[in-house]
């Protein structure tokens, strides 16, 4: 085709001979080390247990038992009308507890509505953790006290916050890691994508923990993503993805700790997918029989995080009958105390509705507060009539 080569030569500025290939292309990062293992990492039943600190193992065990009891108690409180709603983390305690225990004093936790247990295991008063779900206020604690952001209800919206906080800490020269928790469904939201991208571009000291519990309310993971795993999504952002058995408390702890080490060293973010299962319905208001079989639930019950750890620790002589009993008793004490405190009617001040909207109350809000005050006074004067 001599003719066409002639026409190329005629193009203004064209090279004398033929088009040249573009500059050599190279991936910006080598994808191989970012890829998750083909199967979820497990520590229990391997040499990793012998290598682990027995104190840590016993602590994990105690917190799991306490966490399970906490979930059961909170669910019972919904039945008694003491909680407006409760999204249980029963079956997911290993993730919740490991998340709390891996955090250092100065680190931050960004929980979702399902993660009150992680907050409690970090040291937050359970009554304060449950305030949102009891319905007396939107957040029951000062986030700065334990460095726990408010429980986030709009899915995945807490993830960019975690990135921004971790980034800010680094800009200020502080050694702080942010741990951001999200569900499998939440990974479909745009905020998930944006958070991971920012985190990787900024190399922010943040760890993303996705609890893949199989469902987003009724929607199974298969309708949520076509990715090989959620951990694989990390590769597209240029951060490592780790896949872990979410019911193996030691494995979750270990993978989280490794990710924290990377973050502290300035090596950037990590995405962790913990494969677990939501044993209860989405919340007490949900009817899970409409979309999943009891058989599936039973299969997962057999892979229970507490039984797994208890079995392993007893086999190895790290835990004995006394230890099991003591953990159960401690959990009972916690539950009884929680029950008593939740049975007390919270004292609420309706004027709080106007107090915290702005730093300085607007004149409009002052007027409205006066209106409500007058209404309440009038209603009180009339006797036990409700304000309609």
């Amino acid at each position: 085709m001599k003719k066409s080569s002639t026409s190329v030569q005629e193009l203004p500025g064209a090279a004398a001979d033929r088009p040249v290939p573009p500059p050599a292309w190279q991936p910006r990062t080598d994808p191989a080390p970012l890829l998750p293992d083909p199967a979820p990492y497990r520590a229990l039943g391997t040499d990793a247990v012998a290598a682990a600190d027995p104190g840590l193992l016993l602590r994990l065990y105690g917190e799991l038992v306490r966490g399970r009891r906490y979930n059961a108690q909170a669910t019972a409180l919904t039945k008694q009308g003491r909680l407006a709603v409760y999204p249980s983390s029963t079956g997911q305690e290993a993730c919740e507890v490991a998340a709390a225990l891996v955090l250092r004093e100065q680190d931050w936790l960004f929980p979702s509505y399902r993660d009150t247990l992680a907050a409690v295991a970090r040291g937050l008063d359970p009554v304060q953790a449950l305030t949102l779900l009891r319905g007396d206020w939107h957040t029951g604690y000062d986030p700065y006290e334990h460095r726990i952001a408010p429980l986030s209800t709009p899915l995945a919206t807490q993830l960019p916050h975690a990135v921004g906080l971790a980034h800010a800490a680094r800009l200020k020269g502080d050694d702080v890691v942010a741990l951001a928790m999200v569900g499998d469904g939440g990974t479909s939201e745009g905020d998930f994508h944006e958070a991971l991208n920012f985190a990787a571009v900024w190399q922010a000291p943040v760890v993303f923990l996705v609890q893949n519990n199989g469902f987003a309310i009724s929607v199974p993971l298969a309708k949520q993503t076509a990715a090989p795993s959620l951990a694989h999504k990390a590769v597209g952002y240029g951060m490592p993805g780790r896949l872990v058995d979410g019911n193996d408390a030691l494995a979750v702890y270990t993978v989280l700790r490794d990710a924290f080490t990377r973050a502290v060293r300035g090596e950037g973010p990590t995405l962790i997918e913990a494969v677990t299962y939501r044993i209860e319905a989405h919340t007490n208001a949900d009817d899970a029989t409409r979309y999943r079989s009891g058989g599936e639930v039973e299969t997962w019950r057999a892979h229970d995080p507490i039984r797994l750890l208890e079995h392993e620790l007893t086999e190895r002589g790290i835990l004995d009958e006394d230890g099991v009993r003591e953990a159960a008793e401690a959990a009972e004490t916690m539950a009884a105390r929680l029950r008593d405190r939740m049975n007390a009617e919270p004292v609420l001040d309706p004027m709080d509705l106007f107090t915290h909207v702005y730093a300085d109350q607007t004149s409009q809000l002052r007027e409205q507060a006066e209106q409500l005050r007058a209404e309440l006074a009038a209603a009180a004067g009339e006797g036990p009539g409700e304000v309609r």
């Binding site: 407006a84 709603v85 949102l132 779900l133 009891r134 319905g135 007396d136 206020w137 939107h138 209800t153 709009p154 899915l155 469904g185 939440g186 479909s188 939201e189 745009g190 905020d191 987003a216 309310i217 009724s218 929607v219 309708k223 949520q224 993503t225 949900d286 409409r290 979309y291 919270p346 609420l348 309706p350 709080d352 509705l353 106007f354 909207v357 607007t362 409009q364 809000l365 409205q368 409500l372 209404e375 309440l376 409700e386 304000v387 309609r388």
Partner: protein, 334 residues
């Protein structure tokens, strides 16, 4: 002896039936949303649709509101008639980019060549003891966006009729479902529904001549109750149910207020920047010489929606409506 069985039905059932009938009549109607398939939606409004019409007609989408509405735009561009469900009022916010930048503007942008017949169903409002983000009255955001119709039923009949009309509309409709009325009941026959009226018409729910209560959605039952209670005070209140915020039925509203000479707008949404301001201004512009008193508003306080244990202090109730009616300068009359 054959009679049509008229049994009590809930608003939720009427909405479900409207979707079902629309899908049966028009194969281009597709339902999309979170949990709308197998579960039938968290409020069961899409119950049975996936079973009857298949997953392609009633689809559990990935969990992403911007994606749901954005793909609905593309589906509408290609001739389908998507009905999108937002799970709760506050969870529609991620979709605002698509709604405001495209859904509302596409017809105008393309000089009418590319209309988007999309219905966005949004359960809205409080009074159900929902925790934060489950009780917003978000209608003012939608009303402030030219290009969107904004409608909201308050009765079982209207739930059916308005939803059918919304789906049939060639313009995008934000269909606000007052979630605390989902379980309200009325005699209603799915086999003999009232004829579907075009959207944009208000209706007088109660005749009266002392003053007009202008309201919509979740506040209609409050106003009707207030009107009953007002009889003891000697007030005979008229109650207008707007049904459609955009388009706004100036004629019906102004006609009522000209007759009564007094008006109170009642809604759950915040007062400042809320729908009541627009409504009061329109009434004043049209009825100034007939008004015996300024148009008053009874609205939610100008605060983020309260937690369940405090919401009763926020929601406009019968007493606040009656207090407002009492302030309509009756002294001048005697």
């Amino acid at each position: 002896m054959t009679t049509v069985a008229v049994k009590p039905a809930t608003m939720a059932q009427a909405l479900q039936r409207a979707l079902r009938d629309a899908m049966a009549e028009d194969p281009s109607v597709h339902v999309l949303g979170e949990d709308v398939g197998t579960l039938g939606g968290v409020f069961r409004i899409t119950d049975g649709l996936a079973a009857e019409f298949g997953d392609d007609r009633c689809t559990d989408t990935p969990l992403a509101e911007a994606g749901i509405l954005g793909t609905a735009v593309g589906m509408a561009m290609y001739g389908l008639r998507p009905v999108v469900e937002m799970q709760f009022d506050a969870f529609a916010y991620p979709s605002f980019e698509q709604l405001i930048s495209h859904v509302a503007k596409m017809r105008n942008r393309t000089r009418g060549a590319m209309p988007l017949p999309i219905t966005v169903r949004v359960p809205y409002g409080g009074g159900i003891g929902g925790v934060e983000h489950h009780s917003d009255s978000s209608e003012a955001y939608y009303m402030a966006t030219p290009g969107l119709h904004v409608v909201t039923p308050a009765t079982v009949d209207d739930a059916y009729g308005l939803l059918r009309a919304a789906i049939a509309s060639d313009d995008p409709v934000v269909f606000l479902e007052p979630k605390r009325l989902y379980w309200s009941k009325a005699s209603w026959s799915p086999d003999d529904p009232a004829p579907v009226e075009p959207i944009g018409r208000a209706v007088v729910r109660r005749r009266g001549n002392s003053a007009t209560l202008i309201t919509y959605g979740p506040s209609l039952p409050v106003c009707l109750e207030a009107a009953e209670a007002a009889r003891a005070e000697g007030w005979d209140l008229e109650v207008v149910d707007l049904r459609s915020l955009v388009p706004f039925d100036d004629a019906t509203v102004a006609d009522s207020v000209r007759r009564t000479g007094r008006a109170v707008v009642v809604h759950e949404s915040t007062g400042f920047g809320g729908p009541g301001g627009e409504i009061a201004a329109r009434v004043t512009e049209r009825c100034f010489h007939h008004l015996e008193a300024p148009v008053l508003r009874v609205a939610g306080f100008d605060i983020p929606y309260p937690p369940p244990m405090l919401e009763r202090h926020h929601l406009p109730g019968v007493d606040r409506v009656l207090d407002a009616v009492a302030r309509l300068q009756w002294e001048a009359e005697s």
